[in-house]
């Protein structure tokens, strides 16, 4: 009984605070927007040049000049603002974004993150991920605990090329919530029905609990 994807998104959304400026990565992180708790209002940033990103549009409102960083059509909100790429990354690099939530291939005990490249496979590029993890005030990774082959994605040390060194603050997987502080990983919370011993078995990284 691990967390479902919906549970994971809901848990990630609990990290949102009122007034936060947030960047959500492609994939599961994007879905966190659907679980913003009641009474909390956040402003979503899209690194291609928008604050106040709205939901996917209705078919008759699709606008080729209005896309998100995943190149999907989106919609405008009353609070929307547009700007160029240098301004967008000034926000990100300059430590003005409260939170970045993104996926990962591996996270190491020391907070190292790998999510952009598998050597030997075609490399698509890092896009804005390296800037986001270097610049956001808080970085949360939202990912499955284990890869499709069963291997742990929480590792002692990343074998894949890094996206950022020591950049991850919190990891939310289907098995629980982990934090990275001063070079160590901590188990903060187990998913409902998941025991510490199960997590231990399914985790390569050492973690403190």
């Amino acid at each position: 009984m691990a967390w479902s994807r919906e549970d994971m998104c809901r848990r990630a959304a609990m990290e949102l605070q009122n007034g936060y400026y947030v960047n959500l990565g492609i994939g599961m992180p994007t879905l966190v927007a659907n679980y913003v708790p009641k009474g909390i209002s956040v402003i979503l940033q899209s690194e291609n040049g928008m604050l106040g990103m709205g939901p996917f549009p209705s078919p008759n409102e699709v606008d080729p000049d209005l896309i998100n960083a995943g190149k999907q059509t989106i919609s405008e909100l009353p609070e929307s603002v547009y700007f160029d790429s240098a301004m967008s990354f000034a926000m990100i690099r300059g430590n003005h974004m409260d939170l970045s939530i993104l996926g990962a291939l591996q996270v190491a005990e020391n907070g190292d993150l790998a999510n952009w490249m598998i050597p030997g496979k075609m490399v698509k590029g890092m896009g804005g991920a390296m800037d986001l993890v270097a610049g956001a005030k808080k970085v949360i990774v939202l990912m499955d605990h284990n890869a499709k082959d069963g291997s742990s994605k929480l590792v002692k040390s990343c074998s894949l090329p890094l996206t950022g060194a020591g950049v991850v603050d919190l990891i939310i997987t289907d098995l629980g919530v982990f934090s990275c502080k001063s070079g160590n990983m901590y188990l903060e919370e187990c998913a409902e029905g998941v025991s510490i011993s199960e997590i231990k078995v399914r985790t390569e990284a050492n973690f403190i609990y």
């Binding site: 291609n48 080729p64 000049d65 896309i67 998100n68 960083a69 160029d84 690099r93 590029g125 800037d131």
Partner: protein, 232 residues
């Protein structure tokens, strides 16, 4: 004023193109790309290009057209995942590729336009991106030195432009266009609406005309959407 308005993309690029040159192309994905000028580049058959652009189009649109015709020698980009011709040529060593983090790419262009030859950033510290680059601590944090990018030619797409080359962009089609306009030794802009000087609001011009040498009214704009996604 000297005449900045040209008739059509072919004329706008005349005498600017040569094999081996470096070209910046605005746009993010297919959003805000200078599609008329890209078509004219294809027609010109200029070769061995180094192209600086966040992405490389799709197989049959945008910069992908220049891949098909093998006019591109090297790409400097942050993400090129949408293009099979790209993958094929890259794996066959027919295409060079330099990845830049998106924010570093943007800042390198802006720096090139602003006369800043190099700057420090914490993006990429401890990753492959930092290899061979100077690392220096500021306030106890490591940063790497990145250099500016300029281009022999920048091609830009704007929503509106006037005859002095002042440009206004629409929504997220702005993206890299304003900073690449600054970084081109020559900058050519295609606009959807060419207007008279004085028609644009002087408080809300995104690219002042000083950065733009040539401007055309685009003939037609397909404005193709890469991933139509709706709430249905």
């Amino acid at each position: 004023m000297s005449q900045k308005v040209y008739q059509g993309p072919g004329q706008a690029l005349s005498k600017l193109l040569y094999d081996g040159m470096t070209i910046m192309a605005g746009g993010f994905g297919l959003c805000g790309i200078p599609e008329n000028l890209i078509a004219a580049l294809k027609e010109s058959n200029v070769k061995n290009l180094t192209v600086i652009s966040n992405n490389c189009g799709v197989d049959d649109f945008g910069l992908g057209l220049l891949l098909q015709s093998r006019q591109i020698k090297k790409m400097i980009s942050s993400y090129v995942g949408e293009n099979k011709a790209f993958e094929r040529q890259f794996l066959n060593n027919e295409l060079e590729l330099e990845f830049n983090p998106q924010g570093t790419l943007a800042e390198r262009c802006r720096a090139g336009g602003a006369g800043i030859p190099a700057f420090f950033t914490k993006t990429g510290v401890g990753t492959l991106i930092s290899e061979g680059k100077e690392v220096r601590e500021f306030d106890g944090e490591k940063h790497i030195l990145e250099t500016a990018l300029t281009a022999d030619l920048a091609i830009i797409k704007a929503w509106k432009g006037d005859k002095d080359g002042n440009l206004v962009y629409r929504k997220t089609a702005r993206n890299f266009n304003p900073i690449m306009a600054m970084a081109g030794k020559v900058t050519v802009a295609e606009v959807e609406h060419l207007v008279d000087v004085g028609d644009l609001d002087p408080d809300n011009i995104h690219t002042p005309g000083v950065f733009v040498q040539r401007v055309i009214q685009g003939e037609k704009f397909e404005r193709r959407i890469e991933r139509v996604t709706t709430n249905e």
